[in-house]
């Protein structure tokens, strides 16, 4: 267990000696237990349990509100009994002590929660703490009085802590099935809106009606059934997926090309056909995801490939939006040519590129972190200018420009009231953006960007005009963002300065980082998971109850990802190498590639033969 405990605490440089084992155990359990209490109380005070209680996941036992608390002891129980895994070293057998540690961590959390409930009942601190309310107390007591609440929290947290730690103890096969079942069920519950909508499109309404209760949430019976189904399926398909992936990886030449083609066609077909079966709300959601995906793809080129942290990225989004509004809307206050969207788009590209150059030129030579803040400043300046009275005669000030027409394609007009058409428009541009990212990545310019990200000085010394290369990254990113802005304005039908807060830049940054910097697939996953489920700055996601908490979650996610998984959910091979260089090196050595072995031996012999002499020689 001693190894267990040291794993979670950062190695302190101060203590050169090993503390006695038992002592360390309890301190750690105390630390995580305290953390558990803190997290539970903080979540309660932020108002998540009450705010999210309306969303029911499993009817009638579990609401999102309760889940927002209950995951804490579960995860911390898991963390507290985690072991260090060292390649080639046998890790200590997980066992009873781990379970005890998990349960104790939960117990401490539960105890803290019990104290909190009593305090909630006794004092009134509503004045500064806005969520210190009778509803919270009611919710935490399950409506059955103080005594029940206290006992229930202590019991529930201990059990959850125990469960969390037991994940280490149970055999791998069972763990797999259980976790697939649990996550699958959670997914089905969260995706309720999408699934219901989709099945309606396919005429399977009766099925979803029986799965989901009237007030929302999967029914208890169906929960059990679903967990069993998912568990069985996961058991049956065990390893198949991996094998298929490996197979695909091993394909060569034309065969691989064909496989990729089929895969691509499948995905394309799916994205084209699926929206036909979805209702307005889901299509709206998809369109929003697409808009942010477009932004994220652009930022991915700037941050992920060229390594320029541009926090004012929203400026280009704004430029795209305003250019479109001015050129197409009849209500544009100063200059209203009422052009067609297609012509506008050309001008938007030119304009965004120009603004990219103008903003890029002064900042491109700055140190990376200065650049971040200065671009943030530029992003804000642009918004303030659009908002100011000074430019009001041109851009309408805070009232913005309204009455922007949709995109008239002759046979159909794409506008916000028909989100499906907007989705298709966005889809085209996303496809374009993916193509651009993909082609550029594997080109001369892409390599130059990578080199600049790695070591700017050396890149310059190797003949790369770093200033121009970085400016180009800026411009390409700007153009993609401006597309997104143009579509957004055509969709919404109006443009306001406040749609372009710094917040947007940061949310896109979170999307790129959570998904996986420098990786197109990662950015795709990031946009779907974050924008689709949590929602964009103003756009609701599937869990629209999260509206008031999503920025908090974005912030927490950003910190968590940076600390625990900086390469993102879907890392690019290169990124994860970079961030885990040592592990990768270890791997390469342990696998001991044949050639390498020979070579090393040869070098080793040579070194032995004349080791001492060599040192003399180089010292001259």
């Amino acid at each position: 267990m001693s190894a267990t405990m040291t794993s979670s605490s950062a190695p302190s440089s101060r203590s050169g000696y090993r503390a006695p084992v038992a002592d360390q155990d309890w301190r750690n359990v105390g630390k995580w237990g305290g953390l558990c209490t803190l997290a539970l109380v903080l979540v309660s005070l932020i108002g998540m349990p009450v705010g999210l209680d309306r969303r029911i996941l499993i009817h009638p036992v579990l609401s999102l509100g309760y889940l927002s608390l209950l995951w804490i002891p579960l995860v911390l129980g898991f963390v507290v009994s985690r072991h260090v895994e060292l390649e080639g070293v046998e890790s200590p057998e997980p066992g009873g002590r781990d379970l005890l540690a998990g349960a104790l961590t939960g117990l401490l959390g539960g105890f803290g929660m019990a104290v909190f409930i009593v305090a909630l009942d006794t004092f009134n601190l509503r004045d500064p703490l806005v969520n210190w309310s009778p509803q919270l107390l009611e919710l935490l007591n399950y409506g059955r009085g103080l005594g029940f609440g206290v006992v229930a929290w202590i019991a529930a947290c201990s059990v959850l802590g125990l469960l969390g730690s037991s994940i280490h103890v149970i055999p791998a096969g069972v763990r797999r099935v259980v976790s697939y079942g649990a996550f699958g069920l959670l997914g089905i519950a969260v995706l309720e809106g999408a699934i219901a909508d989709l099945s309606e499109g396919f005429g399977l309404q009766s099925l979803t009606d029986s799965i989901y209760a009237n007030r929302g949430g999967v029914t208890v019976v169906w929960s059990i059934v679903l967990v069993v189904i998912i568990g069985v399926v996961s058991m049956l398909t065990r390893g198949r997926f991996k094998a298929a992936k490996a197979n695909y990886g091993e394909l060569q030449g034309p065969e691989r090309k064909r496989a990729s083609m089929i895969l691509f066609l499948l995905v394309a077909l799916l994205t084209i056909i699926l929206p036909l079966f979805l209702g307005t709300i889901m299509n709206e959601l998809l369109a929003n995801v697409g808009l942010f995906l477009l932004l994220a793809l652009g930022l991915n080129i700037v941050v992920g490939l060229a390594g320029i942290l541009d926090l004012g990225y929203v400026a280009f989004f704004a430029v795209g939006g305003y250019t479109t509004a001015v050129l197409t809307s009849p209500d544009s206050p100063f200059f209203a040519p009422e052009m067609h969207f297609a012509i506008t788009l050309v001008i938007v590209v030119v304009f965004a590129g120009l603004v990219g150059l103008i903003i890029g030129a002064p900042v491109i030579r700055m140190r990376g972190d200065y650049l971040a803040i200065v671009t943030l400043g530029f992003g804000e300046i642009i918004r303030l200018l659009f908002m100011s009275d000074w430019l009001k005669p041109y851009f309408g000030g805070a009232q913005g420009i309204t009455n922007v027409p949709g995109v008239d394609l002759g046979f159909v007009t794409i506008k916000g009231t028909d989100p499906r058409s907007v989705f298709y428009l966005v889809l085209v541009f996303c496809a374009l953006a993916i193509y651009i990212s993909w082609r550029l990545q594997a080109s001369r310019l892409g390599r130059a960007w990578m080199a600049i990200r790695e070591d700017e000085k050396v890149a310059e010394a190797m003949g790369i005009n770093t200033v121009n290369a970085k400016l180009l990254a800026f411009v390409v990113g700007a153009v993609l963002a401006s597309f997104s802005g143009a579509i957004l304005v055509a969709k919404v039908g109006s443009v306001f300065p406040n749609s372009f807060m710094i917040l947007v830049s940061i949310i896109i940054l979170v999307v790129v980082i959570v998904g996986g910097m420098g990786n197109i697939a990662g950015v795709l996953v990031g946009s779907f998971v974050l924008i689709g489920v949590l929602g964009g700055p103003r756009q609701p996601g599937l869990l629209h109850e999260f509206q008031s908490f999503k920025l908090l979650i974005y912030g927490a996610l950003l910190v968590f990802m940076m600390l625990q998984r900086p390469e993102g959910l879907v890392p690019s091979a290169r990124r994860s190498q970079e961030l885990h260089q040592e592990e990768f090196l270890q791997d390469v050595w342990l696998k001991g590639e044949e050639h390498e072995g020979e070579e090393h031996e040869e070098e080793l012999h040579a070194a032995e033969a004349s080791g001492a002499e060599g040192h003399e020689g180089s010292g001259a």
């Binding site: 440089s13 972190d369 971040a372 804000e380 908090l552 910190v559």
Partner: protein, 375 residues
């Protein structure tokens, strides 16, 4: 291999450089023309140059100008106090702690909660000075704690990572704190209780009309700066901080506890931000969860203006930025005929940042960074 190398004419100025020169010239001439037009207005309101861009300009009276200067100075003093935190952390760890603005906000928020309670039980009116001291101490404690926790939880594990990683993390921290505070204390604007009459009334010092509150702000800021200067230059802790800023490894070899020194740096920066938070509360009497954002970025600007890592520079940078922000819209933009100049206050602050980085990237008073951080 025979490579044919085309000879380009050497010594060519790149287009980017040419463009930058243009920007520089443009910005400088804008400022010069603005100031000249302003002077022209002041000298004779009806001369054609003054009327050229802005026919309705009325200029400023001497008292108005002094008033602007005083507001700028007092606000700048707060920027300076916050900037110290940015500067110290950058000096020691080489990254921008974007969340430092939230440390300041935490101080202002603490001040609000405490003063609100004092106001409710009457202490605020009956013994203002005592309650002021208490809220300052409380704010310092909360801000220090916030800064230290931040370091421990979010930044310490990332000490060896590339520079942008802790910066991105700090953006996340900033977001998290902002929204957690909003969740816990609500999104509404919170007002500090009324200040006693003897403090807030206008005083006349050397022909300068100044509200007592602003005087208090300047006084407290000066005292804090003096205390900080003593700490950094005259104590062992300060020596350790300077050593760690120079080279962490060597400092560790010399027996300095690097971790503790870094924590101290965050704590001292946090304390300064806490004081600034209270001063902000007293001066503007309102605080929300977003209070830290703009002052935070402006304080960073101030740190850059003064030369990052340079503590007196940070203070002077803060004061210059504050004055520029309060005076420039009326002295440069108004005579150029820009309407609604007060809306552009923040834009002016960011423009100052760009200007300084274009002309003197190491700040007005020089950076004080280790060679590694400068790269």
């Amino acid at each position: 291999m025979t490579a044919t190398i085309e000879r380009k004419s050497a010594r060519q100025v790149s287009k980017v450089d040419r463009f930058l020169t243009l920007i520089r010239i443009f910005l400088v001439s804008l400022i010069v023309i603005g100031v000249l037009a302003f002077i022209a207005q002041q000298v004779a309101p009806d001369n054609p140059f003054a009327r050229w861009r802005n026919p309705d300009a009325v200029g400023l009276t001497g008292d108005q100008f002094k008033g602007l200067l005083m507001s700028g100075l007092s606000q700048g003093a707060m920027y300076g106090l916050i900037a110290l935190g940015y500067s110290m952390v950058y000096g020691v760890l080489g990254f921008i702690n974007f969340a430092h603005g939230e440390v300041f906000m935490a101080g202002a928020m603490t001040g609000f909660i405490a003063s609100d309670k004092f106001s409710a039980n009457g202490l605020w009116e009956s013994n203002f000075l005592l309650s002021l001291v208490i809220i300052i101490v409380l704010a310092i404690m909360v801000s220090t704690l916030t800064a230290v926790l931040m370091e421990r939880v979010a930044y310490r594990p990332l000490r060896e990572s590339p520079r942008l990683i802790p910066l991105i993390t700090s953006i996340g921290v900033s977001f998290f704190i902002q929204n957690a505070v909003m969740g816990v204390f609500g999104p509404s604007t919170k007002s500090y209780p009324q200040l006693p009459q003897w403090l807030s009334k206008q005083r006349s010092i050397l022909t300068f009309e100044i509200a007592g509150t602003k005087l208090l702000v300047l006084l407290v800021a000066a005292m804090s700066m003096a205390g900080l200067w003593y700490l950094v230059e005259r104590t062992r802790t300060g020596k350790a901080m300077r050593a760690v800023a120079e080279d962490k490894e060597i400092a560790a070899l010399m027996g300095i506890n690097v971790n503790r020194t870094i924590v101290t740096t965050f704590a001292v920066g946090g304390a300064m931000a806490g004081i600034a938070g209270i001063l902000w509360g007293l001066l503007f009497r309102s605080v929300t969860h977003m209070t830290g954002f703009l002052p935070g970025i402006k304080a960073f600007t101030a740190a850059v203006v003064g030369g990052i890592g340079n503590l007196p520079g940070a203070m002077i940078g803060g004061i210059s930025l504050g004055s520029a922000e309060s005076i420039a819209p009326l002295v440069i933009l108004e005579p150029l005929g820009v309407p609604g100049v007060s809306q552009l206050k923040d834009a002016v602050a960011f423009t100052v940042l760009v200007l300084v980085l274009l002309f003197k990237p190491s700040g007005l008073f020089g950076e004080q960074l280790s060679a590694e951080d400068r790269a």
